[in-house]
Amino acid sequence: MDFFQTIIALLESTIRLSVPLIFAALAGLYTERAGVFDIGLEGKMLGAAFAAGAVAAVTGSVFIGLLAAILISVLLSLVHGYASITQRGSQIVSGVAINFIVFGSTVILGEAWFRQGGRTPALSGDARFQTWDLPFADAVKDVPFIGPIYANLLSGHFLLTYLAFALVPISWWVLYRTRFGLRLRAVGENPGAVDTAGISVIWLRYRAVICCGILCGFAGAYLSLAMNAGFVKGMTAGKGYIALAALIFAKWRPVNIMLACLLFGFLDALAIRLQGNPLPLIGQVPVQLMQALPYILTVILLAGFIGKAIPPKAGGIPYVKER
């Protein structure tokens, strides 16, 4: 039974850790499917996390914090959009620039406003997301096997956690079953086809970029308002890049994205759990190796185990009307 408890706990933290990845990877899905590569997921997430932490601390309201996160993230997306869609600049340079600017400015602003070494004040009560218990969670807790799965694994998460998982089928539906999705996928493959069909390539790509901003806003808010109680300097810690890896790994498909993010979340959870515990047969494993495991696996998987991941054909290329 103890082993079962361990598994449940491991899976529970898997879910907790994969939520920001799912938000960010889905965010990337919208823009990259529309042909705008976005290496700035990391920066947008970090900016959103800071905005959420700062605003929630000042107003005491978690929802105003969430709105601030989305607002900042969308603004950063629009900067990326302006640089790469309107001005036809390099999408990579723009994305990297956003990452750097956000990393530096969150620390400076945090220190100037709160004087806690770049952190925002610790949040509590209404300024933070509370976990939700699903109906009857208490009642079935003691039922063997099913009980712990329902009560500990499926119940007791944040609102944003449920939203992240709900967004997977919703994104699939939007991309594959709506007019917006059809056009969005088309503009990522052959913007010329969209343009000659009488649809604005620019407006369509901006809308995709805005969707990305909103989702990165959720990701950031989850980090500082749900998973942690406040913003900490550099708290995204490369999650934006892992989300990008998951996006490629999943070949730009929503359900695959969820699975990839869960896998990366699981590795992360495993690394945390194994810290300080000797492995059977192998013995003590250095913490650093465990922490590096998700990244090593990403490299190995991307290098050969998933077949060829073909990105949207027009990805990364600004659209210029042919002369």
Binding site: G181, L182, A186, G198, R323
Partner: protein
Amino acid sequence: MSDLAIELRGIDKSFGLVHANKDINLQVRKGTIHGIIGENGAGKSTLMSILYGFYQADRGEIVVDGKAVVIKDPNAAIASGIGMVHQHFMLVENFTVLENIMLGAEDSQVLNTSISKARVELKRLEKEYALEVDPDALIEELPVGLQQRVEILKALYRKADILILDEPTGVLTPAEADHLFRILGQLKDQGKTIILITHKLREIMAITDEVSVMRRGEMVATRTTKETSVEELAELMVGRRVLLRVEKGEANPGAVKLSVKNLTVRDGRGVTMVDNVSFDLKAGEIVGIAGVAGNGQSELLEAISGIRRAVSGSVVLNGSTVDVTGHVDPGALRSQGLGHVPEDRHHVGLVLKFDESENAILGYQRDKRYLNGPFLNMEAIRAEAEEKIQKYDIRPPNAKLKTANFSGGNQQKIVLAREMERGPDVLIIGQPTRGVDVGAIEFIHKRIIEMRDRGMAVLLVSVELDEIRALSDRILVMFAGRVVGERGTDATEGELGLLMAGVEGPKEAAE
């Protein structure tokens, strides 16, 4: 009601310093096929892009069906009943036929209802115009001819009455092109108006009712097709008399320079593309390889020039055996006297982002003439490039210009100058005049004959049968990877056509 489908009045358009369209007037009558012909860069595509709302004219008026209209974007063009089939298809390759046809014309936010409506409407269009295509097939899995059909259906789905086709046969095999012309004839019979943009005179003569000629941004003439001739149109296009027939004397074949024996080549998927091909090529003769595109000619050229490894067989170049089944260094072949003008100049023949002078030595950059110790001798390179520019009349005459900024014909001349001027013993040329305008074709053909007369052995591959017949001293016909026949200069077009279609092939090959 007017009997004119489209009237353009005084259309004028400049891009920076380039005056692409100068005061263009054009009248297209309803229910006709109207050809617009002109050399590359004459302004045909610009004019049609203005009509389709891709660009705005600086001045001028567009009248559709008797009403003056402003076409500010493709939407407005579609609303006026104008549809366009672009030279490079505007299709999303990993979408289905149905999704491509629907794109931009979906009638609701959620696709379900749009899809079923589109399916019904597509069925109706297929019946009405006899244009069958599987609505659920992915575009990337369809042959080019069918992809083009999808483009036409896309326009019809949007209720186009006026159809513009921009260089529609550039990517088609002769058979597919014939099929397209039948479709266009049918559409005309059903009352559609068709504007056909091309630089191929034969197509104009074969299918149009009227033809307008453009030259350097101006509309120089409009003729009734029946009352004009290929010669007159060519002269109008180029602005001077053009020799459509190449004049050449008898060949004086010498020693064998290239000997190919039992060559077999497979492609990446393991399909046999060249099947046991043997032939000899002598000094001072042009051997033409005719065939419909995709019958192994490309692979044959690649194997001989050392780009693709052969499965079996042997090649003797200039007396020395080339290890075609092992590792071949194309550079080494060059130094053994092989010149190669590749079929695809954009991807294999040139680096479009390089300067003209850099492309003029590409592949020969290790030659001492171009080196200054470990560095390139830019002065020598430029001086030689300028010499070639003079000799081959490459325009604009600027060795520092990026190669992408030259027209197709001039780019081809850059490649030809590079490969011919070194005086190779064997010159293999793929598609010498693909995407090249009439004036430059004449020049290129003359040069090829000149090389032959100097004693070069020339192997010529072209999908243009006219070109093969005009230049070759001997003609080999390839079908399904095999040489199915050899003919002399007296072979008729019909005879070669049958061989190309594989009709007489098996019997003769068995001999």
